[in-house]
Symmetry: C2
Subunit: 341 residues, 2 copies
DNA sequence: CTTGGCACTCCGGGCAAGCGAGTGCCAGTG
DNA sequence: CACTGGCACTCGCTTGCCCGGAGTGCCAAG
């Protein structure tokens, strides 16, 4: 009963503060939102909310501002992710449908997210870990020089040059290629790795052993190449300029984080299963320098399993419903596109 | 005589203003720098310099600040690029020598530049336009599916999948590969393009014509692929946080520019021959939103010809001698490394 | 041509007053 | 018991003001 109104008050405070960026007082609150009670009543509620740690006042006798805990409650209980408008959906679809390849999809997504939310957008390239092997090609550039090409289900192509100690004959190479493909084709790369390892003969005396070993090692290295794992696209950094106040305290660490892809990956969070939407508010994150920023992220990828993550980073004082809707919508569309490709 | 001293005064003003970020007056000027004259004399010189447009005062009876024209004179005539210290050179060498491949070289360079200059660093990946063809490989993944691999002198590898209307035989493919390599090997890609075009038989009835055409078209497309041309690495954006004042006016457009690689390329300037150092000050650049930023850039690349450009972007009020020295040093080291590879 | 002197300008910091928004508390009412 | 109106109080922000300091331009003398 009163409890309900208190939550309504909290919601109103969050919405108002996000919109105006100014501490919000009891009077303006009842005016702007249609709560049918007097300012005095709201004051009582606010006092209670403050006791419980959901809001706070920057200085005595100023308006109230939500705390991280307040935002958390707001996100968890006071808002439902509103679906995007039809126009927005069309815009998303038309923009993403024009993408020509994986890189393009990622680039477009990051721009789209930045535009929709007016925040900094981050999109992780699909990781190798869940992708499967579509094809392995071995090409003799010279008798002792191989080009190893690995094509994955995500559309990623990795190629490596291998220098051999000994020359290799075409027939042997062809056989090796067949073997390798039989072992790895269609497998998730982790499984492909073990299957490939099994190919290397224990008998080192065998003439083809060094070649097999070299090729397999190269493939394993290509598969576990962390640099492909960690690739990330960032966009909308210009939106940081809107931070205005709290500059050194907020923007600088964020700019630094944007260049440290390891940090960004940690911010996006562990790849959970499916497309669950994750919201991390202020101090909940792993970096205290970023205690005034929040992250809204989601997994995405073809099929049920989430391949990678995408999301946005912004001030704790952000439009959570809008951001969540945008992130979810983009994640879904990208997943659908990758499914089709 | 007096002319000489005037230039000394201008130099002192630039150095002082860059160091303190505050308009500099006649008295502090004679105190800090060892000009052996009185403040009054300096005032006369300053008045003359202001008449000629080299300096200006933000408001009446404040100190003087260099204009773009003043910086230009300073850069052109009042400073020699001081060589880097031995320690700095060692640091550059040791950092860049650890690079494993082209991407790594670029990544390390951009970080290095950002650290050395404490500005935003920009490095263009070596463009295709000047590189030569090292090898072309054709692989039949299936009778009607070819993998075309193009390896360039810069170490860049481009690969494309080609779907054929008709099947192609191994022997024909081998011959095509030989022909293509004979035509293109070692050529600058522009010349390689014309040579390749000549390979396509005019007689469309010939059975191999469609295949040749498809392969040649693919190679041409890979060579002229603008996206490889425009690749750019950016680093040190966190240094933007030091701008402090003049935020929206300077940082926002710059952040936007950093995401528009086309804009960045234009900022870096046309690839001039050799490793000439280019300095573009404030309004001299093509974008008036960036009228309070300067660019220090240089070409780099193996051999005499400059393949690509790298540089830094910062406020007009920057340490030009230091920046120029850093950019030049990094460009040279990178060139040397690419030469060796 | 340089120098010291002098009057003038103007920014910026410091201080006080007033305003306004907001709060907490209390007593009254349905 | 919850809500409401009223009231005294707090406190930050803005305004106006003053004043010091740094800097300038000009002039007359060396």
């Amino acid at each position: 009963m009163q409890e309900e109104r208190r939550l309504a008050v909290l919601r109103a405070i969050v919405e108002d503060y996000v919109a105006t960026e100014e501490p919000v007082g009891s009077k303006t609150l009842v005016e702007r939102h249609g709560l049918g009670v007097s300012p005095a009543t709201v004051r009582n509620d606010m006092a209670a909310l403050e006791d419980e740690g959901y809001i706070t006042q920057p200085h005595t006798s100023a308006g109230r501002v939500p705390t991280d805990k307040g935002y958390r409650l707001f996100v968890d209980r006071l808002t439902t992710v509103k679906p995007m408008s039809a126009a927005e959906r069309r815009a998303i679809a038309s923009l993403l449908d024009g993408a020509v390849d994986l890189d393009d999809v990622v680039q477009r997504s990051v721009r789209l997210l930045a535009q929709l939310t007016r925040q900094v957008a981050v999109v992780q390239y699909p990781t190798l870990s869940r992708s499967t092997v579509r094809h392995v090609e071995l090409v003799a550039l010279a008798p002792n020089r191989l080009l190893v090409v690995l094509i994955l289900s995500t559309g990623r192509v990795e190629q490596r040059l291998v220098e051999l100690d000994t020359d290799v004959e075409d027939a042997a190479l062809l056989e090796l290629k067949t073997e390798v493909n039989r072992a790895a084709l269609g497998e998730v790369i982790a499984d492909a790795g073990t299957a490939l390892r099994a190919l290397v003969p224990e008998d080192d005396a065998s003439p083809v052993a060094p070649v097999t070993r070299a090729v397999v090692d190269t493939l394993l290295e290509a598969m576990s190449d962390h640099r492909s794992d960690e690739r990330i696209a960032v966009g909308g950094a210009a939106n940081l300029a809107r931070y205005g106040d709290s500059f050194d305290s907020a923007v600088r660490p964020l700019l630094e984080a944007l260049e440290e892809h390891v940090v960004l990956l940690k911010l996006l969070g562990e790849a959970s299963t499916g497309e669950t939407l994750t919201v991390r508010i202020g101090h909940e994150g792993p970096y205290q320098e970023l205690s005034s920023t929040s992250v809204v992220a989601s997994g995405y990828g073809p099929g049920d399993e989430a391949f990678a993550r995408l999301g946005i980073v912004g001030p704790t004082r952000m439009d959570y419903p809008g951001s969540m809707a945008a992130v979810r919508a983009v994640a879904r569309y990208v997943s659908r596109i990758l499914d089709g490709a």
